[in-house]
């Protein structure tokens, strides 16, 4: 539904079934007619068959490939993005979706992913992102190191998240234009990507046992960016004393 509302990624066709609540159905009718998308009425079991899931909510859409953004175009936007999140081979769709959701909520302007070993934007990612894939540009680059170099050329500081880093993220200035670079769930960042990063940071901790889930680590780094940029105090100015 968030996808229809955002109007960025247009479905090829939409199907509604009796299980769909009436108010939602009315919204779907309005939006599909507005965007000239074919709308079909099907039975609940027909929809289950089509989306290969029993637990649907009476609404499904057949989607074309996700409309990834173009790197040059995003870089030339005005104002230029000052907070990038770069993902190096995030394989798990749940993680990728949760990361995009955090990115939208925690002050990231654009997400950059690679192709090899990286989950693309699929229906699972859309679900676990709670529709957030529609709210910021996602660039897919053939080579993450090459794309990082382009970001650096545009004046963005590339910061690698690495457990082995000497400095903690709160000790690095995140107010200037930055790209936070997160690595694969098991292997972390590839050497080629790590080589492109100008800084390495880790998450400060009290009592360290083990490591963090990639989506949790990404969320914590983004929150630090928001904290340093003081954004929360802007929307919360009244209660600050």
């Amino acid at each position: 539904m968030a996808t229809l509302r955002a109007g960025l990624w247009t479905p090829l066709e939409v199907a509604v079934a009796p299980r769909c609540p009436d108010d939602l159905r009315a919204d779907v009718r309005r939006l599909t007619s507005l965007q000239q998308i074919p709308l079909m009425e099907v039975t609940d079991s027909e929809l289950s068959r089509r989306c290969r899931a029993e637990d649907h909510q009476g609404l499904a859409a057949r989607m074309p490939e996700f409309p990834y953004a173009n790197l040059d175009e995003v870089l030339s936007r005005s104002p230029a993005p000052t907070a990038w999140l770069v993902l190096d081979r995030i394989q798990d769709s749940f993680n990728f979706g949760a990361i995009v959701r955090s990115a939208v909520e925690l002050g990231i302007d654009a997400v950059l992913i690679g192709t090899a070993g990286q989950a693309g934007v699929n229906s699972q990612v859309v679900r676990s992102s709670a529709g957030a894939v529609n709210y910021l540009p996602i660039v897919r680059a053939r080579s993450v190191p090459e794309a990082l170099q382009l970001l650096r050329d545009a004046g963005v500081l590339a910061i690698a998240a690495s457990e082995k880093a000497a400095s903690t993220v709160d000790a690095v200035d995140l107010i200037r234009p930055v790209a936070l670079v997160i690595g694969n769930e098991a292997e972390g960042l590839s050497p080629a990507v790590l080589d492109c990063c100008q800084e390495r940071v880790r998450i400060p901790i009290g009592n360290r046992v083990g490591s963090l889930n990639a989506a949790v680590a990404a969320g914590i780094l983004c929150y630090e960016l928001v904290r340093q940029r003081g954004k929360w105090s802007k929307s919360d100015g009244a209660s600050l004393t």
């Binding site: 925690l106 901790i205 360290r208 963090l212 949790v216 990404a218 969320g219 954004k231």
Partner: protein, 247 residues
């Protein structure tokens, strides 16, 4: 009850903490993968049976049986702690942090919360029993060893657990998108029990009424909230960095 663990990190943690509960390690034929090698070494040292003949039933052979042949370990469930000891041994101090999960339903979220809790040195996790994800093999595997290192209690009555925490001197901090304060405004001169609500509904009314403070992660975007385990991780991180500065 036994678990079937497929993440070598969760098996290693069980072998380190309670080797007597690891009943058997099962490996596909051939050399163990790099990730499983420490498991094999540790199991051998402790004389835990290692089975390498993962012969599949004849009708499944050659079919979609790869999953069945993957390395795994049979491990007894971890026993929960006693609720009273969670707060009292040792007594709560400024900087201490506990986490309570109010009807979290996704096992991936529960597992990720345990993993973060271990990472941030959380003293204990309280979980609701009803309408909540059970502590399944998935939870243990996603926690990547976290369930072994953080004491936990499953309770049918979260409200009375929150009351017990309060009378032991722990302050209760709820989290909600509708809270007025950002987590960074929460006073850090006391021990906190952080309560995380259900993925859809958030905290139940009674849980919320027992909170001494409510906090949020101030949203910047259009989605309105974070994934529950990401939110829990961000809150733990924010509380730990104010509660235990300079570490």
């Amino acid at each position: 009850m036994t678990l079937l663990l497929r993440n070598p990190h969760s098996v290693i943690a069980a072998l380190d903490r309670r080797p007597g509960d690891v009943l058997e390690v099962r490996l596909p034929p051939g050399k163990p993968s790099e990730a499983w090698r420490p498991v094999v070494e540790s199991a051998r040292e402790r004389q835990i049976p290692i089975k390498t003949e993962l012969a599949l039933p004849p009708d499944r052979r050659g079919g979609k049986s790869e999953r069945q042949g993957a390395a795994c370990a049979i491990v007894r469930e971890q026993a929960g702690a006693l609720l009273e000891t969670l707060w009292t041994a040792p007594p709560p101090q400024t900087g201490d942090l506990w986490v309570a999960l109010d009807c979290l339903q996704d096992p991936h979220n529960v597992g990720a919360v345990f993993r973060s809790a271990a990472f941030f040195g959380v003293r204990g996790v309280v979980l609701t029993k009803d309408r909540s994800a059970p502590l399944s093999s998935t939870v243990y595997d996603v926690a990547s060893g976290g369930v072994e290192s953080v004491p936990f209690v499953q309770t049918p009555n979260l409200a009375s657990a929150l009351k017990a925490a309060k009378s032991a001197g722990v302050w209760v901090l709820g989290s909600s998108e509708r809270a007025a304060k950002d987590v960074s405004q929460i006073p850090h001169d006391r021990p906190w029990l952080l309560v995380i609500g259900n993925e859809e509904q958030g905290l139940r009314r009674l849980s919320q009424e027992l909170c001494d403070e409510m906090c949020r992660i101030t949203p910047q975007g259009d989605v309105g909230s974070l994934n529950a385990s990401v939110a829990a991780g961000v809150l733990m991180s924010a509380l730990r960095s104010v509660l235990a500065p300079g570490q």
